[in-house]
Each structure stands twice: as structure tokens, then as C-alpha cells.
Symmetry: C2
Subunit: 128 residues, 2 copies
DNA sequence: CTAATAAGAGACTTTATATATCTATAATAG
DNA sequence: CTATTATAGATATATAAAGTCTCTTATTAG
């Protein structure tokens, strides 16, 4: 069990935009170069963030990506969910068992993780 | 990011042994049947638990698996680590960046998850 | 001692997912 | 119109998970 590289790229892109964008859009080429990843692959990841309303995309010359208006409210969990999906980390009781005490424990642990990620925002890392 | 089925099998096997074994060893065939998984595959998983000292294996007729002497101290985290390994969930800064604020957040979240899993033991689910 | 039982080890296969790449299309500034 | 930049879809490659098969080793009932 690992977070994907895609999640890593998404988080770093959000941080980069938050730290260095005054107002001008940043092209995927520049974002990709910073992270040592191919622009076409990164653009696929960024498209997911666009669809979730976390960033805006602007086509055409001088286009690129900017943070959405509500970017200061976006949590780590939001970004992770946008990339990894929202399904539970633990799929239990593949075999038949309606109530599963193991699942209960696993889900409670997952909640602790998510609570922490929900309380941390990219904007927290910029204010300093 | 998902916990593997192997982890699920391991947790359920531990619970089954804790709940239903008085003293006699249980063969992998029976354990596998309960979970609807092939015995050969399950045995690979159980070998990992043996190597970590969580269960004992007994070869030969009337052999099988029993919980280790210290089974009541074994946490969910111990079992998960035995199967999934102990490395961090988040590999950051693939590109060069010694100190990474994103990694810090991710690791703190992972700690919350691990703390919860460390405090839950299979034996907690049996005492009732 | 022998036959049956059961775990362990290693090679292999299959399936699924992550990580890309390539090409074509759409939008926009100048 | 042309250069630039995002989007979409198909495809390719790499890695890991999940499962199978076969052979070996250990134990014990008889």
C-alpha cells in the first residue's frame, strides 16, 4: 500500500502554484520540468484537479493553470481524493460476513488518517 | 492506494485462530476454506506470520498453525507490517528537495493511522 | 519403516494498476 | 494564419498483486 506518484505530483503542483503564482497562469511544461516528469503525463493528473474545481485551465497561447478562487480551503484530503479516488482503503469480507469486527477497526484507523489530512491545507504551508 | 487482500487474509486468520483454537493446530486447508482462498496462496501469507513469530507452524499429520505464546500483545499494525512491509506510505521528493513540507504533513497523517492500528489488538476483539 | 499428512520453497502465470507515451483535436493570443 | 497550450483517446510499458503448480522437507500415526 503506497500513495501513487500521481498524488505526489498533484500535491507538489498545488504547492508550487500557491507559492509562486501571483496571477499569471503557469504552463504544464514548467510545472513538469520542476518535478522531473513528462508534461503529457502531468497534464493528465492536472485534468483531474481541474474537474474537481481545484485549479483552472486556460487554453491557448499564454495559457496554463491557476489556482481556483477557493484554493485556500482545499485540504490535502481533497487533493488525494481527486487523484486516488474516494473508496475505502480496506475492502473487507470478500467472503460472506455482514458485520466484520476487523473492518470496523480498519475503518476507524482510516478515519484518523483522513481527519488529519482534512485539517491540513496547502494554504497552511504558504503562510510564512 | 489499498490494503492488499493478503493483509485481509492475515488479519482474518489471526482472528479465527484467536476465537476458535483451544490448543489444537488448525491446518491451512481449513483456514483457506473459511476465507474462500486457495490453500497454497494462504500458506505463503501465513509463512510471513510465522517468520515474524506471530504464529507457530507444525508440520506433519495433525499439524497446522497455532497462535504464538505472546499473541495477546500482537497489534493490527504488527500484522499489517508483516504482510505489507514497514516502509512509509508516501515516497516524496523523487526530485531533489531535502526538506519537504508536503512529506511532513503526509508522515504526520500516517502516524495517526499507525497509532490507531498499534493500539488495536486481535485479543481486543475476542474478549467478549 | 512406511504411508499419509502438512508446511515450505521456488518457478511460473495471470490479472490489475500505475506510469507513462503518442497522436490528434480544441482554444486563444498576437 | 500561426504558434502556443490544454484535452482526449488510444496505446505501450513496468510493476505489483494474486494465484497456481510442483517439488521438497518434516512429522507422526500405524
Amino acid at each position: 500500500m503506497k500513495y501513487s506518484k500521481a498524488t505526489n505530483y498533484a500535491l507538489h503542483t498545488m504547492l508550487f502554484l500557491a507559492m509562486e503564482t501571483p496571477n499569471k497562469p503557469v504552463g504544464v511544461h514548467q510545472l513538469a520540468e520542476r518535478q522531473n516528469v513528462s508534461p503529457t503525463y502531468l497534464s493528465k493528473i492536472l485534468t483531474k484537479l481541474v474537474k474537481e474545481g481545484m485549479i483552472n485551465s486556460i487554453s491557448g497561447a499564454n495559457g496554463g493553470y491557476t489556482l481556483s478562487k477557493n484554493w485556500e480551503d482545499i485540504s490535502f484530503l481533497d487533493i488525494i481524493h481527486a487523484i486516488e479516488g474516494k473508496s475505502s482503503l480496506f475492502d473487507c469480507c470478500l467472503y460472506s460476513n455482514p458485520e466484520c469486527v476487523i473492518k470496523d477497526v480498519m475503518l476507524s484507523a482510516e478515519e484518523k488518517l483522513e481527519n488529519e489530512l482534512r485539517n491540513k491545507k496547502i494554504s497552511d504551508l504558504v503562510k510564512k
